[in-house]
């Protein structure tokens, strides 16, 4: 009975996943389990394979071994857009907004896969086109209000200040209505104030959208501050897993990662 409860709560299950590029094993034998509502961190030195792991989860790469399950459904081999529709959404290490589109349109693109009006309806401007577009616009505006971005609705995404671009990227990822949100170094290039704001934003969206979050981060203050559980990746292998305090004191982690700073 108790075991069943646990099963139901599990959202993501990564089973012995690995990928090989030619002779190079970028990620191997990785096992990760994330329950609903958790906020999990993924850390590791540069080149450890963290972003590759994200790319495996989102379908950019197809794993050469192992399985990935979301809510019990196998995701291996699905193209990225289908994985997004199944409920995994992400942001990127280097911001990838649709620069020439307005802030509003950036979010509307995320709503596209839920739109009901087809190409024919749009070309002939049938009523379903107008209803669909209006609904999308209202949803997008309401959504941007949550993120305090409604002051920039018609501004091109590229004209936003850096911190707001990060914010918009997270908002856009959330607009796809994911179950699991992957954040790839959300605090990269931010000053302490912006990082603080970001931490608040992450806890806020988590509550508001009942979200499960997996984040890659180098900023230890942020990782230790917000994550409940941390996975450590080094040379493509998981070397540790545990609570922030456990990770902080794990000799393997210190050796692989923090070791450089200590010695």
């Amino acid at each position: 009975m108790g075991g069943n409860m646990m099963e139901n709560k599990q959202l993501l299950k990564v089973e012995n996943v690995g990928i090989q590029f030619g002779g190079l094993k970028a990620v191997s034998n990785t096992n990760v389990e994330i329950s609903k509502g958790e906020l999990v961190g993924l850390i590791g030195p540069n080149g450890a394979g963290k972003t590759t792991f994200f790319n495996l989860l989102t379908g950019v790469y197809v794993p050469t071994e192992g399985n990935i399950f979301l809510d019990g459904k196998r995701l291996n081999g699905l193209p990225p857009y289908k994985i997004t529709r199944k409920g995994i959404s992400r942001t990127f290490q280097n911001i990838r907004l649709f620069n020439e589109l307005s802030v509003l349109d950036n979010v509307k693109v995320a709503y596209h896969s839920n739109s009901k009006h087809g190409i024919i309806s749009s070309i002939f401007r049938l009523p379903s086109h107008f209803n669909g577009e209006r609904e999308m616009e209202e949803m997008a505006i309401d959504f941007l209000k949550i993120f305090n971005l409604d002051g920039y609705l018609y501004e091109k995404a590229k004209n936003l200040p850096y911190g707001q671009q990060r914010r918009l990227e997270i908002a856009r990822a959330l607009a796809t209505q994911p179950k699991l949100l992957l954040l790839d170094e959300p605090a990269a290039g931010m000053n302490p104030n912006e990082t603080e704001e970001l931490m608040n934003l992450i806890s806020f969206i988590r509550e508001r959208f009942h979200l499960t979050v997996l984040l890659i981060e180098h900023d230890m203050q942020l990782v230790m501050g917000v994550c409940e559980r941390i996975y450590v990746l080094d040379h493509g292998q998981l070397i540790a897993e545990g609570s922030p305090s456990e990770i902080r004191n794990n000799p393997k982690v210190i050796e692989a990662y923090l070791g450089e700073e200590v010695s």
Binding site: R85, R96, K156
Partner: protein
């Protein structure tokens, strides 16, 4: 409210189109225009259709295709076969020309749109040449000597085909489907991550573009008395590409204006055949030096009339995709 505004501007454009049509129709039927001018007019209209159809592929979806003359050729020959060999009506021939080109677009698009940038350009260039060489070797359509075609393209046919082309492409662009295409142009990886089926939309843009290029082909073949494979070489593809780039990548009105201007320039330079290509090239070089983003840059012409809220068409920096 937005709906009403869109409707209003829609009727303004239709009204403007009817006026332009009526004036030119009056000039033609009143015989104020000689055959030379009428022919120039047809060339302009056909070039606008071609430019706008390629604009959807390059300017909106960001897929650098340079085999558009291939679709033009398929449309031209299919339409000519319908009227000349099968003795069927002209209207049907335009439709068949479009559909034949769209089918070709689908067949060529599915494999080649996996390629990106330069590779896609080379693949589409190859496609254009394959079409030309194939036509050259089919005796049914006259091989190298070409095919005789009746002169059936009239001003109303050409003009309303152009209006329909522009309407369809504008409507497509200003919808969630157009935004999906623009998002692919802006950042394909992010578009994928947002749940956009990028392959589907790339192929869709390609097929719609090919369809209208095929319709233009039907008008083209019935505008001259003869069509031959030689007129659909890669230079023709480049001519169309130049309309789109010169008008400003991502700007539909820009490509229309560029098509009009360059068609006029090239027609009037026919009197100086020995210097024609030099002057034409100079125009392009000067243009690229002084206005590398194209005539209208990334804006639509309507955005010059209304201040504030930017229009929602496609915009991007021309330099990035060309380079």
């Amino acid at each position: 409210m937005q709906k009403r505004k869109q409707f209003k501007s829609f009727y303004i454009y239709i009204f403007a189109a009817i006026i332009v049509f009526a004036i030119v129709q009056f000039l033609i039927s009143g015989q104020f225009m000689n055959d030379f001018y009428i022919n120039t007019l047809m060339v302009i209209v056909i070039n606008i259709i071609l430019a706008v159809s390629l604009h959807l592929v390059i300017g909106i979806t960001g897929q650098f295709s340079i085999g558009h003359a291939g679709f033009l050729a398929i449309g031209a020959y299919s339409a000519a076969i319908i009227t000349m060999k099968l003795q069927l009506p002209f209207a049907l021939s335009l439709l068949v020309g479009g559909i034949a080109a769209a089918v070709a677009g689908l067949i060529i698009g599915i494999p080649s749109l996996r390629l990106k940038g330069d590779y896609l350009a080379i693949a589409t260039l190859g496609f254009g040449e394959i079409v030309r060489i194939t036509l050259l070797n089919i005796n049914y359509v006259g091989g190298a000597s070409g095919m005789l075609v009746d002169n059936l393209t009239t001003w109303p046919w050409a003009f309303w085909c152009m209006v329909i082309t522009i309407l369809v492409i504008v409507n497509f662009t200003n919808s969630t489907h157009g935004r999906a295409c623009i998002s692919i142009r802006e950042n394909e990886i992010a578009a994928d991550a947002m749940g956009i089926n990028t392959t589907y939309y790339k192929v869709m843009a390609f097929v719609i573009g090919a369809f209208f290029a095929g319709v233009a082909g039907g008008l083209y073949s019935h505008n001259f008395y003869i069509i031959s494979p030689g007129s659909f070489g890669f230079m023709k593809s480049f001519d169309i590409l130049i309309f789109v780039v010169l008008g400003g990548l991502g700007s539909l009105s820009g490509s229309v204006i560029a098509a009009i201007l360059l068609s006029i320039v090239s027609t009037f330079l026919q009197d100086y055949p020995e210097t024609r290509m030099i002057i034409y090239s100079l125009v392009l070089i000067l243009m690229m030096i002084f206005r590398p983003q194209g005539l209208l840059g990334t804006k639509e012409i309507t955005s010059f009339f209304k201040k504030g809220k930017s229009s929602d068409g496609g915009k991007h920096d021309g330099k990035q995709t060309v380079a």
